[in-house]
Each structure stands twice: as structure tokens, then as C-alpha cells.
Symmetry: C2
Subunit: 339 residues, 2 copies
């Protein structure tokens, strides 16, 4: 790799001058600048960002830690984020914690050591990363989910409100027995979903014995087993609608319905909590609640940039920006069969 010094020798000046010339310092004469530029091009000079970063204390990398890449909920999010970051000349360094808090901590520590300039982080536990945070002096922004960490910005989804809206929607269609398939209780966000569910159920006046929540690991197998169980229960408890609070619950539900030959929405209704681009081509198209990942990514990136260039008179109080989604009515949910 060509270095500043080599150019300096070729031109016959100091490396300081070369650096200034290339960086557009006005004190360098036009003539020198010209010389230096030519030589730099001739030698194919590319600044060593590592050295530059060491000096400037910033590297242009942003850590993006998400749970995983097998769930389209997060890949959509990541897609928008990388898009935004690239547009700003930043690069995303990827990490997946799979909801494993200790792996999460390791990733964060590792990324911070490598001196990413900032961190976009989907937290995986309620506690968040307050512990690690004390050691850190780079901006961290929680995305999608918000933990209890104080002092960390958060750009996130209102889980409770979203689920509540789905419950009200189903109730509006006439459903009285609704089961929500959600993630394990320890997973961040699930708690809020449960709160939203129960809150809406109570508010509407439905019975909590026929409107229940099943907390299950995020994989299709466990979910489909449990759904089978629900469907095999006594008719008066059997759900007429299922809310799939996470991606695997959707595929699990569809696979069970398919095996049993159940028709949607006649035999049962299904609403997903997050949209996916195949939901409108499936048979039937899946009614869902759509999250504004694009806007969230924009806002999160923008906020991170603000934090990266702290303006003296800009307050540094953490911001908590909550996003609402909206119902996307398709076909998989309809009025329950009269029975």
C-alpha cells in the first residue's frame, strides 16, 4: 500500500504537506496540491483508514446487533438500516445474539473494543446493557425493543399497543376466544405483548379463561405442537382466532392448519404481528400488523448520527421514540363460524 510518506518523497516535500494537500487544507499552494494529487493518483494512493481512525478516534463502522437473521422481522430491519448507514458513508458490523444475553454481552464488548463508532442494538433482556454501558463512551441506540437501561436512546415498537389493536380487531370481527402464541417470557418485548393482550381483553370484557397466551420458544416445532393442543381442547375453549406474535408462530400455525385441512378464515382466523413479503401471496393472504421499519431505521440512523457529532448546544438527554404500526387487513382473519 502506498503511504503518505512515499508520496512525500516522490514529490519532495514532507508528509504533513501531502496530508494537508489531500485533505484540502487551504494553506497549501495550488501548485503543490496539483503535484501531490497527481502523484497520489499515479501511485494509486488510498489512505489507511486504520491509521486515520487511530488519530481521529473514529472509524466509520457502526455495530448492529440483532437477534438473528432467520426471522424476517429482523432482516427487514437490517436491510433498511444498512441502506441508511451506507448512504451516510458508514458500514454496519453485524452481530447476532439469538436472545442469548451472555453472547450479547460478548458481542457488545468485542465490537466496542474494535472501536465501532456507535451501536445499534436490539436488546434481548429487560435489564438491557446498563452494566456494560458504564465502561463505554460511544453512543448506543436501542432499536425495535427498549430495555430498562437508563440513558440509552431507544427507537422502538410499542408492543403492547400493537397487540391490543389486534385483539380489538378480532373482537370487532366477532371473536371471543383468542389465543396468542408468543415468545418466552424472558425475551424482551414479550412481556409488553402480554400486557397489551390482557389489557385489551379486560377492557373489552372478554374472559381470560378463553383468551390466553402461550409462551413458547421461537421455533416452529414447539409452536405447532402447542397449537395442535389448543385445537384439540374442548370445543367451548377452542380458539376461533390465533395471534402469531412472532414469525415462527405464523409458519407453525399455517402448517398445522394445512395438515388438518382447516380453511382460513372459515375454520379459524390468524393474525400475524409483523408483516412479511410473502403474506400476500400465501393462500389465503395473511392479515397482519405492520411495523414501520423503514421510518424506524431512518430515525435511528439519524439519531445515531446526531450522537456521533455532538453539537455543543444540543442536549444529550436520551430520546425514546416510540413507533406504532397499523393493521393490514388481508384474508386470513374473518368472522368466526357461527356454532
Amino acid at each position: 500500500m502506498t503511504t503518505l510518506k512515499e508520496i512525500a518523497e516522490a514529490v519532495g516535500c514532507s508528509s504533513a504537506t501531502v496530508s494537508r494537500a489531500l485533505n484540502g487544507d487551504l494553506r497549501i499552494s495550488a501548485q503543490r496540491r496539483e503535484q501531490v494529487n497527481n502523484e497520489a493518483i499515479r501511485l494509486g494512493y488510498q489512505a489507511n483508514q486504520l491509521a486515520r481512525s487511530l488519530r481521529r478516534q473514529k472509524i466509520g463502522y457502526v455495530g448492529v446487533i440483532i437477534p438473528n437473521l432467520t426471522n424476517s422481522y429482523y432482516t427487514y430491519c437490517l436491510a433498511h438500516l444498512t441502506d441508511r448507514l451506507t448512504a451516510r458513508g458508514l458500514h454496519a458490523v453485524l452481530g447476532c445474539h439469538n436472545f442469548d444475553a451472555s453472547l450479547d454481552a460478548t458481542l457488545i464488548q468485542s465490537l466496542i473494543n474494535r472501536e465501532v463508532d456507535g451501536l445499534l442494538h436490539v436488546p434481548c433482556t429487560k435489564e438491557g446493557i446498563e452494566g456494560v454501558l458504564k465502561t463505554i463512551d460511544i453512543p448506543v441506540i436501542e432499536i425495535v425493543q427498549r430495555s430498562a437501561s437508563r440513558g440509552v436512546d431507544a427507537v422502538y415498537v410499542d408492543n403492547a399497543k400493537g397487540i391490543a389493536e389486534i385483539v380489538r380487531y378480532l373482537h370487532g370481527l366477532g371473536h371471543r376466544r383468542i389465543v396468542m402464541i408468543a415468545g418466552r417470557r424472558e425475551v424482551l418485548g414479550v412481556d409488553a405483548q402480554a400486557r397489551g393482550f390482557l389489557g385489551a381483553v379486560k377492557e373489552i370484557g372478554l374472559s381470560t379463561s378463553t383468551c390466553t397466551i402461550e409462551h413458547l420458544p421461537a421455533n416452529r416445532h414447539d409452536c405447532s405442537d402447542r397449537i395442535e393442543l389448543c385445537l384439540d381442547g374442548p370445543a367451548e375453549l377452542r380458539p376461533t382466532a390465533i395471534i402469531a406474535a412472532h414469525y415462527f408462530a405464523v409458519t407453525a400455525a399455517l402448517s398445522v392448519f394445512r395438515v388438518r385441512g382447516m380453511q382460513l378464515p372459515d375454520d379459524i382466523s390468524l393474525v400475524a404481528f409483523s408483516n412479511d413479503d410473502w403474506f400476500d401471496v400465501s393462500s389465503p393472504p395473511v392479515t397482519t400488523f405492520e411495523h414501520p421499519f423503514r421510518s424506524m431505521s431512518n430515525v435511528a440512523t439519524q439519531l445515531l448520527l446526531t450522537r456521533l457529532q455532538p453539537h455543543p448546544d444540543h442536549p444529550s438527554k436520551p430520546e425514546f421514540i416510540e413507533f406504532d404500526g397499523r393493521m393490514l387487513e388481508r384474508v386470513s382473519a374473518g368472522p368466526p363460524a357461527v356454532s
Copy 2:
């Protein structure tokens, strides 16, 4: 951030000694080592990887450049890759070129300047990156697709063979009029797919006037428009089977069939070129050709690691490792209707 020097001052020795102690240099006495370790822990020392990298000329980042994140073909691939890289203590720096060669070049240059240790790259043109390559002294491994770049390792899918296998499969079911919806010709891999298609068609003895390829941009809209057109053609040319060579063609086809009320596989057959995890829950489940992304990721990562630690007696001849997929028979493809 605590630095070596601060520890040195606290302990009362030079920073060189601290560095050696922490790095397990045997020449440092056990007593000193102890002192240094304690002090390092007390001060919460974390080595500045930037400085270390500048010196050691490696940083622990691997660039991963893929076309996009909206196509599950690549997210699956990325998921496996990050998994493997993380297991090796490396981090993936993400870039998406969206099949834009100039963006691709920019990304590569940008990542290389930032001194990633190596590059895993899904090339987007036949020419590959030979031009850029000359300037580079880090290992580059092409994944999923192989370009014409000489001297670059490649771990990739045999597009021609895969498509040919699908054609033979459909022919075996009795199909004589098959249309393949593929990407634009300029996109790498599409050419090979076309070769595979035409090769099989010829080998079997089908007519190239009823077995055709539609080259379309990778979005649902263009694909569905064209599929409509095909279906509206004269009955004797109308395809009885469609091969969706990329992801968007699958959703496009399904959406058209759904709107027209066509039943699969009775009214038409559909085979996708790459699997997705919702293909088995859709109605009907989508017959597909499955690619071994897990193995490919393993091999690619392993190969990259080999390149990163070049063994003196290990030859540095580029390796070209081709992977085959396999048919995954589900329901969307069956014998054509007798007419």
C-alpha cells in the same frame, strides 16, 4: 479508555513490559505479570484494537458483500456466514450492492481501505473484480456465484446443473411447455441458468419455441406482468410449468395464480430455484431446488481462514469449489392437465 501507559504508571514499569505481561510473554517474571494483571483488571483495561491492528496489520473484520437483504436466498447465506465467522472470533462488515457494479466497486474499495482482513463477495458481473483486485493484498473469496476473475477463490453454486435438473424433473412429470423466469442477463449466474435450461431442453428434445426464458428485473411487479402475458398467450404455447429462478419470481407467480384462481399443481406447475422456509406452509407447498448454504458457508469461512494465515508450504493456487443442490419435492409441481 485505559491505556497501556496508564497501567505502566500505576505499576511503575514501562508500557512495553505491560504489553508483554498481558500478552503472555515468558520473559516477564510471574510477579510482574501478577501486578500488571491486577492493575489491568482494576482499571478495566481493554486493548485498543485500532492501535493493535495498525501495528499487527489485521483487524478481525471480514467484509461480506451480498446483493441484498430482501431476498431470502442471501439472508440465509449471510446468516450462516455470520454464524461461522463469529465462531472464529471474526466480525462481518456488511455491504449490499443490489447488483449495481459501480456500487459494488465502491463498497469493495471502501471496505478494503478500512482494512478488513478479507472479503467474502457475491460478485455481480461476469467480469468480477479483477480490476480492483490488482491493488489488493487481502484474500477475496467469491461466494454463491463465480465470476471470471482469475486468481480468486470461489465457493459457489452450479447454476446450470441445478436448472437442468429442474427441467428434467418437470419433463419427467410430463411437461413439454416450460417457461423460466430469470433475472436480467447481465446479472451473474443468470447466464449459467439459461445455459442449463437450454441444454436440458435440447438434450431432452423439447422445442425451444415452447420452452423459453424470460429475463426480468428482480422485482415482483415486472415478473407478474410477464407471467400474465405468458398465460394469456395462445393455448398451444401456454406454459404448463414455470420455473422461478429467483425469489421474486416465486411471489410474483403465486400472486398471479391467486388472482386468477388457478390451482397448483392442477392448472399449472411451479418450481422455485431456491428454498425458503415458508415454502412448505404455503398453499400448496412449493416444490423447490435446495442449495446447501450451510456447507457452502462453512467451506468459504474455512477457506478464508486458511488464506488469512498462509502456511508457508500451503499452495496458494486459487480453489474453485462447486456445490450442487437437490430437488425438494413438495406439491406445487405435478403432472400437467391432459388437454
